[in-house]
């Protein structure tokens, strides 16, 4: 049995975690954003066909993932050694995540 270990230093800055959280909110929102854009514009829809058998879903999700990973990399580079206002970042990230849940729901997406 491994022995209980005292808490490691609480000095670990929260910036890395905040970067991952906000980027995940952005990535989730981008899925909904690109899906709605592809649904509303025929030109954008055909642009999103990265792989024909899967259709526009291939481009919508690939673009969202690219934006998510880019946002994560940029935020990580800026925040990794810092403590940031996590309450505000959590609020924004949860708002983006909640919006993405709502905006992927077809009756709501169709309002745009």
């Amino acid at each position: 049995m491994s022995a209980p270990v005292a808490f490691p230093s609480a000095k670990l800055p929260n910036g890395s975690g905040a970067a991952a959280i906000l980027a995940a909110g952005i990535g989730a929102f981008m899925v909904a954003f690109f899906a709605i854009a592809a649904d509303k514009s025929a030109a954008f829809k055909s642009l999103m066909i990265f792989w024909k058998p899967t259709g526009p879903l291939s481009g919508v999700t690939t673009c969202a993932i690219v934006v998510w990973l880019l946002a994560w990399a940029v935020l990580e580079a800026r925040w990794r050694k810092r403590n940031v206002a996590l309450a505000r970042i959590n609020t924004v990230a949860f708002a983006l995540l909640g919006l993405s849940l709502l905006l992927t729901f077809p009756p709501i997406a169709d309002l745009f």
Partner: protein
């Protein structure tokens, strides 16, 4: 007893990776809620911490396997266009659902929601895994990070549940079938 290759892939996508993800998700939520609360009394050992790190990585792997097999293996069979003059739409699930007013919403609402909302799952759980790998038991002293990891894991559970429910119902109404037939067991007639 036999199964087609398309049916087998659909089974692996939904009942394999997807269902396993849902099961794993409930375990992670309980563990995070109980053990990593700032008020939790029981100390966290390095073994507990390593276990949950691996657990999150496996969950992220399952989430990615689910969406990738869904979008790039099963979905193309689902949305395949029927050639003009096709008499039976059995091999074209999307067209089959859209051909009947009583089943069209399984596509226009169910699949349209499922195919997008499912992608929130790997994004959310990859974040949760990354944060847990970085902070581990320090989450007890970073309650806001723990809240975010818990919240995103909970939403990933909800999104996976939505995708799983619609996947199961769509496949019940218009099964993805076809491809090679694999004989599993040769039965005997009575």
């Amino acid at each position: 007893m036999e199964i087609t290759t398309r049916s087998l892939w659909t089974l692996m996508h939904g009942m394999g990776f997807g269902a396993l993800y849902l099961l794993a998700c409930s375990g992670a939520l309980v563990e995070l809620w109980r053990r990593y609360s700032p008020n939790a009394q029981q100390p966290i050992t390095s073994r507990d911490e390593s276990f949950l790190r691996i657990y999150f990585v496996v969950m992220a792997g399952l989430a990615w396997l689910t969406v990738l097999t869904g979008a790039y293996i099963v979905y193309p069979w689902y949305r395949a266009a029927a050639p003009p003059g096709t008499a039976s739409l059995a091999g074209f699930p999307q067209r089959l659902l859209m051909s009947n007013p009583s089943t069209i919403a399984w596509h226009s609402l169910g699949m349209e929601w499922k195919e997008h909302v499912a992608w929130l799952v790997p994004i959310s759980i990859t974040m949760a895994a990354a944060v847990f790998i970085k902070y581990g038991r320090n989450l007890k002293t970073h309650p806001q990070l723990r809240t975010a990891v818990l919240g995103f894991t909970l939403v990933s559970f909800l999104a996976a549940g939505i995708a799983g429910f619609f996947g199961a119902m769509i496949n019940k109404n218009a099964p993805v079938e076809g491809g090679q037939t694999i004989h599993l067991v040769h039965g005997e007639s009575r």
